[in-house]
Subunit: 343 residues, 4 copies
């Protein structure tokens, strides 16, 4: 059996979660998110962002979170702005458009949006009422390319949005990885202060399913639960989500897991860099994109699974390696060893 570096959702969940499921299994609980675990998990999250006026909702996955958030905010003629690498643009089968909203695409190198990227889009959408109205800015942290927002970058983008009557939404499917990156200077609390709405991803960080949507802007809180139910995202046994987030939030397990994933990726990155390997982008989270010779890729493929991401030239390609909360030293060291033996 080859070890897979293809993604961070290949394994089940952190053992604490299964223990908690076992322990509470036969308790009777209220349905639809009114169970005691969900209520506690939400309280704990609000403590961690230090804002008791935020509202928290737990849903199953990232596409679901994205489509519920975006369709709940926008009026029919309003649209969302995304970097060209945005998950909502490329990897969600038109889920956002299916709710009636256009996504305006901004080409970027590193998967991040800056005010200067957005200004021309606003300028090109002045032909009222013949064009959609840009209203919501969608960003991811860490991004789909593994890059992250530094504190000043997010502050600046947040201020720009406020000045321009735009709302800011952060896709946090890998927020744990973003915040625990060795180069991150942003905290969870600041993330909540600087966004109108964001989510904390569980699926890619040790949960079976689950993303916690956190609504900081009071204007966006009204009646939000209706949207969750209407989109088929309100689990009868909401306890499944509540128990998971309760365990992940306890003692900051969530951040420990993400940090571990990042560290394992950095270990590989550093070993490769030492031998002069180039990378497609300079990342400090759990995704790395080394450029390797096709021969080496061939050899590594015998023991490991990973995506060949992009052809560079006739002899070499960039591959994508993703580590998870559960990626052990054996896999990492084994990869490095084979790399060293063959380069």
């Amino acid at each position: 059996m080859k070890f897979s570096f293809k993604n961070d959702y290949s394994e089940g969940c952190h053992p604490n979660i299964l223990q908690a499921l076992l322990q509470s299994n036969l308790d009777q609980q209220a349905g639809y998110g009114e169970d005691e675990f969900s209520l506690k998990a939400k309280e704990l999250i609000k403590e961690k962002i230090n804002n008791k006026d935020s509202e928290v909702y737990l849903v199953s996955g990232g596409t679901q979170a994205n489509l519920i958030v975006i369709s709940s905010i926008l009026r029919p003629y309003q649209c969302v702005i995304s970097a060209s690498t945005g998950h909502i643009l490329n990897n969600e089968t038109g889920a956002i458009e299916a709710t009636g909203h256009k996504i305006l695409n901004i080409e970027t190198e590193d998967g991040k949006l800056r005010a200067s990227d957005i200004v021309p889009v606003l300028e090109n959408h002045q032909n009222v009422p013949h064009q959609v109205m840009p209203k919501l800015v969608y960003i991811s942290n860490s991004t789909e390319l593994g890059t992250i927002y530094k504190k000043e970058e997010l502050k600046s983008l947040s201020a720009f949005c406020k000045e321009n009557n735009l709302l800011l939404f952060m896709d946090g499917a890998r927020l744990g990885h973003g915040l625990t990156s060795e180069i991150s200077d942003l905290t969870l609390e600041e993330t909540a202060q600087l966004t109108d709405i964001f989510y904390l991803g569980g699926t890619k960080n040790g949960a079976l399913i689950g993303e916690a949507i956190i609504i900081n802007n009071p204007d966006l809180q009204q009646d939000f639960a209706f949207n969750i139910k209407q989109k088929g995202a309100l689990l009868a046994k909401g306890r499944l989500l509540g128990i998971q987030f309760l365990e992940l939030m306890k003692n900051d397990l969530y951040f420990d897991l993400a940090k571990h994933a990042n560290q394992q990726a950095m270990k590989i990155k550093n070993a490769l860099k030492e031998r002069g390997v180039q990378f497609l982008s300079d990342t400090y989270t759990n995704q790395i994109f080394p450029i390797l010779s096709n021969d080496l890729i061939q050899v590594l493929s015998e023991k490991f699974e990973f995506y060949v991401w992009k052809k560079i030239d006739d002899n070499s390609s960039a591959v994508r390696l993703i580590t998870s909360w559960n990626t052990g030293d054996e896999a990492v060291d084994g990869f490095i060893e084979i790399f060293k033996a063959n380069s």
Copy 2:
């Protein structure tokens, strides 16, 4: 702590499921339903319906299943027909309409649809193109009122649909309970033969989440997976669904659990009937609607939770009692005892 007869999703899941989750937890599996458990579960379901040409998809919940199925089938101007008690009509926050489709409402006493109910709807929708085109018939088994379809009823409805170019979709959120009712003469295999598409509900029968959508009509199979992804229902860790259905299908655990729930309800029903209690409707599944004096309701409420369903007169009301795969004898006997002591 009061024991709750409010619904069949108050507890977690059958212990076999948790054991299977534990056992496989750290295995690496392919994502998005391509894991070995999902593949096996689908095979097992196809064996049980004895049709290897059906296709099976696993999703999280009933509203999600309903909206994906209906929106995937209908053209924009086509609509669905439902009994007035239909879950899609009353309890899904307009989830179907949110995908663009009208639901035509047929008043029925017992939650079931018959050809004779549908004929007038077809007759009243002949003003082309000024009216929606009826195309899909939505039924539930067991229904929202706990009643079931007998084999001849389903055969007759199925034939009527074919003759009238209508498709037949069965909401099987409680299909286990329907098929294992003491008065049912319908099998799972026949259910598959007589419907174009249906689902097998896990959430209300011992799973944490999960409904298995089974597409029998080949015309409805094409590209179905796109709809699941677009509606945010494709779990990255599809193994969570696969493992659950694999356990439930093994040795017919699914049917044993439903049968148990039915039997516990029938035990209460019979005890009440013996003492002359009337029922709002004559059900043989895990939902019963006894009419009790308000005084008795008051006394029972001290130990048990349940919904007061409908005021009958100034002195009495119908209540709804639902039993589950995990409702024990203690709760049932305790209820009967208090009933007897106070009636």
Copy 3:
């Protein structure tokens, strides 16, 4: 050629409109409703409702007006309430649902809604967030059955809506006929005061196309033009709509035309009543529903076209007769004559 009483849109338009089109035809005008005729027509309408803070938009037809208004107002989980005879429910091919919104149906005898009809709907939609949220009340004046709202009725309904945080929308496809009915005590100005939004129908009252949407509630005015463009309703040559409403509003031609139509219908009604004919409903606008013997219907059908509306018994049926702004005395007198000669 038989004369048709089938509807009020069989003829072209009032000659003044064609004259105005001819006169201005080769002038260059701004597009998309910024032409001078549209601007003047809007001003004139605002004068007539005596509210310069209302906003006016001109669109082509009733279904278009209905779907734009409703989808612009409601959040995704909110729904509209309509009498069971409502045009949006039965005769618009699911246009409202196609924008994502459910219509709650209230059975009524006379096509009108009263507070007492709506109270039970509100009471039955308290299961948050499992049900749609009623938000908008849709009424028609005159109704699809030819009946009208008296001033006190509209006042009372309007007050009820305000108290219950509901918005009130009047479909005025036949508002001219409603307001000029011999039993109406309601004015256009009061109509504007008592509704959040309504429209003034041109198509059924002497225009080729055109409905004037009038938004009285400032909260509903924001960005409304975007909705018109998005739904494909913003005509490049908006002058076509402007010129028509300008002509119709000048010297109250609009009301004269409607009054004429009403009077012609009343003339027939009174002639029939004198001879003891019963009517399906007691109307005072341009729609009447006399119950006639099938033999008489047969004879009348040789010279006139009309709809046989409803079978009453084996020997008689109700027919629907509609008169228009252009129904002449010859047709009316001819109909009465044949009636008298055969009854």
Copy 4:
């Protein structure tokens, strides 16, 4: 009063149309497109494309036509491909996305799509079911930049679509101009043979409103009328559309009007070219984009209205001039004269 070269919908309609409206005005006609004029117009169009199996529907405007056609064809997860200049992408307020469908954007220089543009889009959309499925190719002729498709280009694109299971839809808002361009070798009949569906624009070529949707692919014909009604586009007085297309089709008035518009634009183009003026794109229809000095633009603006389209450098800009079916020699010669006097 300045003469406007801003667009081709500044004037009313061709006088023949007004005469025909006058002549038939008081005739009673069937509603909703069943009038004799609409029926005849449709027959005439089918004769002109030489295909009696095509179906023709008349609607009011281009955005309306686009959204009805696209939403009627695509399944929820399918999308449309458009050149980056496509009207549906930039100028319709998200009308297509509002029906649930994504538009994939292809950057092109000249507003035209070629097979080689589409191949990479297909290659990048293979990640089933995580991405939308490309299904419909949207092109315009003439394009939004005034360019046209030559016969071989359309043949080649059409063949490519067939090979790749794609459907081809031509926006013909300015099809008259495209087909009568002095460099066009494409006929209306060939246009119908090479597309699955297209429309013949009236609004920009001498009608008050009106686009004739022509469905050549029988698979796309089924139930099409429902879509028109549902989107609010079925005019009660369909005669208004029928009369216009009947007049435009008679004796090829439609093509004469377009040819006139083209010729007037070419007259200006040639006069400017003679003096060495450069153009933003090389067009042969009724839109031209000369690059002029800002000083000259200033002078011309005193007598004429037109859009300054694009800044070229600090001293010059491209302007857009559009001529219409009614642009007279006086305006054209006047423009050229001022140009010559100042360059």
